[in-house]
């Protein structure tokens, strides 16, 4: 399947510092169209018809989320853009913000119109502080040009915490507290930011909205597979000749991305979705990239045959243990214990009972962790145990 430019169509084409270049590329036509001739419900319906699902990794249907917030009682509502891209190996949102902040602003304004929110937030990770001026400049220009009448956009910076990419932790952070995940329900569409109905969408999700409004949901839904419509932007890094950002129609085989576009050689395994993602061995390289198979937020980290599987899993778990917010026990303690056991395997001192302990722990964490961090933390271990069992067995003392 081909590369396609929907999300990235303006990247490298417009000047991200000048709104006039965006207007020349049909910029803000979707917002004008929506305000002039579509009801908020009609905008939501187009998004539903498009089949657009969240691009931050969870894949929740965007239109249904918006409808939930729209239908929640109350006249104070919020829309948030999650630009706290912290997943290991992900940099697509940085690339998008660097090259086309205007489409994002238009997408967020459309979200505000659809949901009935007068206030939008962009939560930008602290590590991307160097993008703040560009983004704020784009917001200012959009405002001065009259596109944000009745809709304010406030950029809020993070302060260095991976878990704030999780939606409920992100809202805690905007409210000024520790970025700890919330218990759900209630869900954000009912009680989100400041306990008001709120939608929160990934940068890339919102980038799709103007095209969907302009060209229609049924145009959009023709791309992709039955349950994964549209395109996806991937961040490819690691043992590849051409790392970078690539946009593919959903359902394209992983091989196209890894072997053809990024020119990887001698691949052993690929981690898809970063630290909370899945690991697949090279003999499954024809797996389609889609929500029904494997996707995450689109981080694709490639490891060649010289890499040690246990080392990869251990480093992944160290990252998660460090970034766990600490609120719930299964995640806080579970990641820590996994690091300790994996450390033993790194030294070749694994115990026979360790595999069973890790498996039991994985099950508990997936079942009872409060948010996606702890629920997905065991994936790297479980996947490598399935596909690279020998690497574990050979590190057990006495084997």
């Amino acid at each position: 399947m081909p590369q396609a430019k929907v999300v990235l169509k303006n990247c490298g084409v417009i000047d991200p510092r000048r709104i006039s270049t965006y207007l020349d590329a049909d910029g803000f036509k979707a917002l004008e169209k929506a305000r002039r001739e579509m009801s908020p419900e009609e905008v939501i319906n187009e998004v539903k018809v498009a089949g657009l699902r969240g691009r931050g990794g969870a894949g929740f249907p965007c239109g249904i989320k918006w409808e939930g917030a729209r239908n929640s009682p109350g006249d104070e509502k919020y829309v948030i853009c999650n630009a706290d891209e912290g997943e290991v190996g992900t940099f697509k949102d940085r690339y998008i913000l660097e090259n086309d902040p205007f489409t994002l602003i238009e997408g967020l304004a459309l979200a505000g119109y659809a949901v009935g929110a007068g206030q939008g937030y962009v939560y930008l990770r602290a590590e991307y502080h160097y993008l703040l001026d560009l983004l704020q400049g784009a917001v200012n220009q959009a405002g001065e040009s009259g596109f944000l009448d009745g809709f304010d956009i406030n950029i809020r910076e993070g302060a260095g915490a991976y878990v704030c990419g999780e939606e409920s932790a992100l809202m805690e952070s905007i409210e000024g507290r520790r970025g700890e995940s919330r218990y759900r329900p209630p869900f954000p569409t009912v009680a989100g930011l400041w306990q008001k109905p709120t939608t929160i969408n990934n940068v890339e999700t919102l980038m799709n909205i103007p095209r969907i409004v302009l060209d229609g949901g049924s145009w959009y839904s023709k791309m992709g597979t039955e349950r994964s419509q549209g395109t996806k932007v991937f961040s490819v890094s690691g043992d590849v000749a051409r790392p970078g950002v690539y946009e593919l129609v959903l359902g394209s085989p992983l091989r196209e991305l890894v072997d053809e576009l990024a020119s990887a050689r001698d691949v052993k395994l690929v981690q898809i979705g970063g630290a909370t993602g899945r690991i697949i061995p090279y003999d499954m390289i024809d797996t389609p990239l889609s929500f029904e198979n494997i996707l995450g937020a689109g981080a694709v980290t490639v490891f060649d045959k010289s890499r040690d599987v246990i080392d990869i899993v251990h480093r992944t778990m160290e990252f998660l243990a460090e970034e766990s917010c600490g609120k719930c026990t299964p995640c806080r303690q579970g990641t820590q214990v996994m690091v300790e056991i994996l450390e033993r395997f790194c030294r070749g001192e694994g115990l026979k009972k360790d595999i069973k302990v890790l498996e039991d722990l994985a099950e508990t964490m997936m079942l009872s962790s409060l948010c996606g961090l702890g629920q997905a933390a065991p994936f790297a271990f479980l996947d490598t145990l399935k596909y690279f069992r020998d690497d574990y067995d050979s590190r057990i003392q006495g084997n």
């Binding site: 997943e87 206030q119 502080h129 915490a161 000024g176 507290r177 890094s237 790392p243 980290t301």
Partner: protein
């Protein structure tokens, strides 16, 4: 509605915003300052310390004038970030987690900073430095006094 939101945003009860402002004035968050802040915001000092110690870009100990953050996550690791870490340590004479005696640099290792396509990478203050090699380090550090 937006007016009400704006005022609440700027209101001192947003602890994270207040802490970031305080840090930009003082370079870090001294204990006395956190105590004062707790009093003036009428919140327990635990809450102030809790937020201050949660975020990696807030410092609860004195920090150097320049903060080096080298990425230690997998994509940079695959591109030999270890050599960059060792080179920086040798150049400034301290290890990760430390501050030079002259207060010029604090040295930290950080998790993924989203520059994996240009690995190995680091941040110094808010500047991104990419495609690092040991040879480049000396020249880059010269720009930070």
């Amino acid at each position: 509605m937006s007016k009400r939101v704006a005022s609440r945003d700027k209101a001192p009860q947003n602890l994270l915003v207040a802490l970031k402002e305080a840090q930009s004035r003082h370079g870090y968050l001294p204990h006395d300052l956190m105590r004062e802040m707790a009093e003036s915001l009428d919140v327990p000092v635990n809450d102030v310390y809790g937020v201050a110690s949660f975020y990696s870009f807030l410092a609860i100990r004195p920090a150097g004038r320049n903060i080096i953050r080298i990425c230690k996550s997998l994509p940079c690791y695959l591109k030999n970030s270890q050599i960059i870490i060792e080179t920086v340590a040798r150049e400034i004479g301290i290890g990760p987690g430390e501050t030079t005696p002259d207060g010029r640099f604090s040295f930290e290792l950080t998790n993924c900073i989203g520059l994996c396509d240009r690995a190995p990478a680091m941040l110094i203050n808010n500047d991104a430095h990419v495609d690092l090699t040991p040879e480049k380090i000396k020249q880059i550090l010269k720009n930070y006094e």
